[in-house]
Amino acid sequence: MAWAALVAGVVAAFFAGVMLLHRSLYVSAVSLLVVLLQTAVLFLLCGSPLLGLLQVMIYAGAVMVLVVVTIMAAGDEGGRFADFSFPKPLAWLGVLAAVGETALILSHAAAPAAVQVDPALQAQLGAVLFKPYALATEAVTLLMFLAALAIAPEPETAA
């Protein structure tokens, strides 16, 4: 299964390069999305399907969507890429990778792992989060709550 990891890694790196070099902000955002999906696959292949799932759900699914939508909403200032177009070849590459990886995953009965990982490891995640790292967990929760305040609107200035 290591070749699958290699593929995922290469694709991720490639799209990271695209992120760096492409001038369009929208393209960069979508490339990041692809990169995150690849890292999710990598998580899976490294023996942690839960985190892979979490990555896809939270990171790729929520955060990146938020970013991309914000970019699309805020618009590229005076940019040539206001049309939010994504280069076709890259799109094909991304789709291809996604499809391949999906096929790989579905072809296995259980989550495919490239290394032998103790199955109890995942289960311990929860225990760790709420026992030794309980404080950190609560703090991060609070942090996320406070972050939500960031989108609170500005108080109206008195006229």
Partner: protein, 101 residues
């Protein structure tokens, strides 16, 4: 046989480097934000792999927390950038020079 550790290190390194480059080199603040996320993701990859290798669940916990914090940070960053946009100075790092001198 392809060594998974090598692949993971390679990926991590590449992603981190690219992320850093994006943050330092690009002028748009949003791009910098994306670079930050990229760096965090890279680190996550390495953490997950080594959690499996060393059978350390705490590393996985850290990954979870990092994902959460990164998400929160992205939200706050976006909010700030939008504030900047509305304030009129735009989201161009080169133009934000109030710290000059």
């Amino acid at each position: 046989m392809i060594n998974l550790t090598a692949v993971v290190w390679g990926t991590t390194g590449a992603l981190f480097a690219f992320g850093l480059a994006i943050v330092v080199l690009r002028r748009q603040l949003l791009a910098m934000l994306l670079g930050l996320e990229l760096m965090l993701a890279a680190v996550n990859v390495s953490l997950v792999h080594h959690a499996g290798i060393f059978n350390d669940a705490e590393a996985l916990a850290v990954v979870a927390l990092v994902i959460a914090v990164a998400a929160a940070e992205a939200v706050v960053g976006l909010a700030l950038i939008l504030r900047l946009r509305r304030a009129g100075s735009g989201a161009d790092a080169a133009l934000l020079t109030e710290l000059q001198g």
